[in-house]
Symmetry: C2
Subunit: 174 residues, 2 copies
Amino acid sequence: MMSGPAVHPVEAPPMTMAAPMVRMKDFQGMPGTLGSLFLRLCQFVFAVISICVMVTTSDFPSVTAFSYLVAAVGLQIIWSLVLAIADVYAILVKRSYRNVAIVSLFAIGDGITSTLTFAAACASAGITVLISNDLEKCKVNHCTRFMSATAMAFLSWFAASPSFFLNFWSLASR
Amino acid sequence: MMSGPAVHPVEAPPMTMAAPMVRMKDFQGMPGTLGSLFLRLCQFVFAVISICVMVTTSDFPSVTAFSYLVAAVGLQIIWSLVLAIADVYAILVKRSYRNVAIVSLFAIGDGITSTLTFAAACASAGITVLISNDLEKCKVNHCTRFMSATAMAFLSWFAASPSFFLNFWSLASR
């Protein structure tokens, strides 16, 4: 038999006024944080998968956009690796990058590499869709590999965008 | 003969507290300025040329990327026109947009439309290069028109980027 009250009293949560002005300096994802390292590793891994899948299709050099994808994603790999090493160093010495010149360099580099990766992914996507949907020539082409490489390039760009925006934001808000 | 005092007493100017902190609000290119209006008109004009050139090629619907270019550039036209009207209104009433919500809306809208335009331009560029350089089938295709439409879409994106970055910067620096 139920005799307890159906509605239990609930404690009101304490009104916290915590952190009225938190500067975004150590926000996860900014250079020198674990979030940033995670983003860099995502960029790196997706870009490596993309370039490996694309290179296994023997006929990728015959299409300019696919060659360009390999070049752009290769640049993304180098950039993400260098920045990942910089993040590891910053985490090990327990510091973050607050120098305007360095954060500007990171933001500009991120902007350039992510734009190139995105452009390459879009161009490859356009051609992959042309081959598979518009021309329906998937039997003589490596459609699945082209699609996978393109998708991985998009994922790499998707991981690179937050890095760029957070760097840019931290630059603008100082 | 001068008998009057050489130095006239000067009334102390009233201590105005006007604008002790000059924010970057009225920097040219931010919403509500002539620079912004100029950028909007550039985006609009290039996008209109791009869509007109693409639509005159009768076979553009057979390629997904070209149809997508028409859709993305069409969205850019609407967005740029609306924001140009907003700028004209702000210039006429001699005010600028300082509301965080409005500037956020502008920044997000600019980010979305410029990314879509850039993606469409890249996809079209990939296919145009494929047709003209890799397959060398320009005799049966409207290569020049495809190239012109793509180039105009790139120019429209090129004019949209400063708008986005200035909005984003003005959002981050407040």
